[in-house]
Subunit: 504 residues, 2 copies
């Protein structure tokens, strides 16, 4: 169920809620028997008074669209008339027409997280966005002005599906800082690394194929692979990254089609795969002829410790498909990512991209090219590497101050995230509404686990909040955890024991 409120509209909030739910019931999006969220929970998510939700539900109940059941909550009622049997054309039954593949994507916990995160009165630690106040806005303004002045006609047209050629070359050069660079024609520009993952899934995965992934891993990857009909083989992560030894044991029996890894400052845990495991993973991939997708959005953002080469730089058998993005080191709005890999794969992906969206905004590509070509990206990354560890340390200190004994965290050497574990069997999904009520958003860790594990984990981003907001946000989080502990001091362990069986 998706409800979005527009506080600038005159329509009262309870009517906005009831109207959206009504539409979803009538269209079949919410079929009979669907359980609606409890009033308190929905109120907390939307940041409204509980009475508002009560009034909305009352409206719907009066129309016979929903019914309350003791013990089962509020349920969508059986289908109403809708003019059936009158001989009139009945309109399109949209709910019946949708393909199945799309059903997997609507995780209510995620939607809740996004709703809370978007509220103006909330400090969000739930995203993966770099610090907006550090965006090089003036440089981008000057570049766009120059671009349109010198080459407007060209840059407002289409460009090759594979990418603006000078940008392909500049990205290859950028990679030369960290291992042997690819040739420019081995680089495909994509609309953000999300599109890169999507194209890879479409090119390489048939329904039923198995993909080995870290557990936990990037949420967008879980969604993309599931949407392609693939099954996931979760390999746990520890402080040295993916536990490659477990994959070695499984690979011959399970035959994954693809291995997906974020080896450096992993999302969500911040862990980095050791050099020894990198070599073992590559040997395994070469022996079994299984391609490895190395997703590396954060590699440039190291704050401590010695650099470890990316997998692609250690690979001597051509097994690695390298995926990265400008979204974490620059900003996400230009939607520019890239894939570097063997030519046959790049050509295949380009054919698919032509179907999916033809090409990527050439003006944005030009601006990113110029930013790279003039050395501005290297300078910008240097600035981030000064600013971000201060925020990370501020967050860790605040957790020490406000959450001692309730939340434990590791100190990541780079990236954007602190990964936390709740004590006492508390669940992040229960923390979400408590935190929302106090004006802070977190990302529940179970969403990053393909098997639904990690109920006690959560991810905290330290780059979107301003440095001076971090302590306040963590203080609010501490209050929320304390409140949850108080309200649940009895039943929590019992409930957790009951759901210890993995879902997959």
């Amino acid at each position: 169920m998706i409800v979005e409120l527009d506080r600038s509209r005159e329509l009262p909030l309870y009517l906005q809620i009831s109207r959206q739910i009504r539409d979803q019931i009538r269209s079949g999006e919410l079929p009979p028997g669907t359980r609606l969220p409890p009033e308190r929970r929905l109120a907390a998510m939307l940041g409204v008074n509980r009475t508002t939700v009560v009034n909305a539900y009352r409206e719907l109940a009066a129309e016979g669209l929903i019914v309350g059941h003791v013990g089962r909550g509020t349920i969508v009622a059986g289908a109403a008339g809708d003019g059936a049997g009158t001989g009139e054309p009945r309109g399109i039954p949209w709910g019946q027409l949708f393909t199945e593949a799309t059903d997997v994507m609507n995780d209510p916990l995620l939607r809740d997280t996004m709703l809370v995160s978007a509220r103006a009165d909330v400090i969000s630690l739930a995203t993966g966005i770099p610090s907006p106040e550090l965006y090089p806005i003036d440089a981008i303004r000057a570049l766009l002005d120059e671009a349109l002045h010198t080459a407007g006609q060209e840059l407002l047209q289409h460009c090759p599906t594979e990418g603006y050629p000078p940008l392909r070359a500049a990205l290859a050069d950028w990679m030369a800082g960290n291992g042997p660079p690819p040739e420019p024609d081995q680089v495909l520009v994509v609309a953000g690394s999300q599109q890169g993952l999507y194209l890879l899934a479409r090119a390489l995965l048939e329904p039923g194929d198995l993909v080995a992934v870290e557990s936990p891993t990037y949420l967008g990857a879980i969604q993309v692979f599931r949407a392609a009909g693939a099954r996931l083989l979760p390999i746990p992560v520890d402080a040295d990254g993916m536990r490659v030894g477990l994959l070695e044991d499984l690979i011959a029996r399970r035959r994954p089609k693809l291995i997906y890894t974020l080896p450096t400052f992993q999302n969500p845990t911040g862990a980095t795969m050791s050099l020894e495991r990198r070599h073992r993973l590559l040997a395994l991939a070469a022996r079994e002829q299984v391609p490895v997708v190395e997703d590396d959005p954060y590699g440039a953002l190291r704050y401590d410790g010695r650099p470890i080469p990316p997998l692609r730089a250690l690979d001597s058998h051509g097994s690695v498909i390298y995926l990265s993005t400008l979204s974490k080191v620059l900003f996400p709005g230009f939607r520019i990512g890239w894939i570097a890999g063997p030519r046959p794969l790049i050509e295949r992906l380009a054919l698919m991209k032509q179907i999916v969206d033809l090409d990527t905004n050439p003006l944005a590509q030009w601006a990113v090219w110029a930013f790279l070509d003039r050395g501005l990206l290297a300078e910008h990354v240097e600035r981030l590497r000064q600013a971000y560890p201060r925020r990370r340390d501020a967050m860790l200190a605040a957790i020490e101050r406000h959450c001692a004994g309730m939340l434990t965290c590791e100190r990541p050497d780079g990236g954007l995230y602190v990964w936390g574990r709740l004590a006492d069997g508390l669940r992040a999904r229960d923390l979400l509404p408590e935190a929302a009520r106090r004006g802070v958003a977190i990302a529940p860790g179970s969403s990053f686990h393909p098997d639904g594990e990690g109920e006690n984990t959560l991810r905290l981003n330290f780059t979107l909040p301003r440095e001076e907001e971090i302590d306040l946000a963590i203080a609010r989080l501490g209050e929320a955890i304390a409140a949850l502990r108080g309200s649940r001091s009895t039943g929590a362990e019992r409930r957790d024991a009951a759901r210890a069986t993995p879902i997959v």
Copy 2:
């Protein structure tokens, strides 16, 4: 087979060609038995001397990768060693790993067309791009500068997957000029209408489903539907648009899942569906509960005759999904299109877009919003409606002058294209290399026919070439047709008769 030449590189052209073909053979992209294009044809496509291709093929033959067969042409040889059997890891066999769905997209005729079209010495009539010298570059420069100055932090971040909210509202307002507008939350912003079609196909089509389409129709739609595994039910187009009566006869028996139509200034024929047929199509769709996708990129570009309302404005049963784009009335580089439809569909499509690319460039969305909001788009469209009919008429006059008796055309009331038929059973695929040799690119009509028919048809665009180039381009085309006629005056009819059986 894809070969791209970079004339700025030091590597001789023949080595660029042989190297790319070699890579494609080694990777399995070109499996043993594949027939390579004849030397003369490849030379004409790439705009190189025939000797260059001869030398490239000689290199490959010397390595044993290709062989010449009398009567069969040049063929990829059986697999070579590749280090198999040495016990060494063998590298990833990419050619074996690709999914099947992607194979349908690599139409060699289209690749040829694009290669020719991109050559600097060629006047291209093959595209669908609005006149670059009319792009409102200064206005866009000023808007982007204002955007970054006033809201840079926000506009370089992510924005809602559904689109920048003010743009959704402005697009709904824009539609009010032509029928009742949708609510803003019924509008989904997409990365060009190609992405809109892609999302619709993914949301509504399972492999094996049937889609009723016009024949001929938009090439990108054929590709999208085929890539989704759908089959196509071609309904012929005449001067009054889709022959709806034929669809009425077929619909109960064939049960298409979707009807796809470009009712106004159709791509590629320029035909407009009559009001009477629009009403019949809508009645049919409502009775059979089959959704209609109305693709309307050109509706605002009417030069003559009385406007006919879009299908969506005539629809009283909610059967129509409306799809449009800014690419034809503004420029394609911002990659902004939109879908307007029922809320459950919009929500479903937004969930899919989140998987595909998360969101669309918010800076571009802001600029388009401001362009609409300040009335600049309406003024711009007025300018196009002054300029484009002059080019259309220049093209028709040039055809009269240079191609009389060889090429017949209708005069479209709007849009970007003139549709032509070659006399004497000549085929556009044979004309393509003749025209390329003389410096003009055309789009062969058979590519727009889902059943491979229309070998004697071609599409000519009159907006990309400058007004003063049109006569020259058509003069070159006339020479090419005359040359083809001369060289083929004997065997042409015979060959055409042999392939009159439809492919589907």
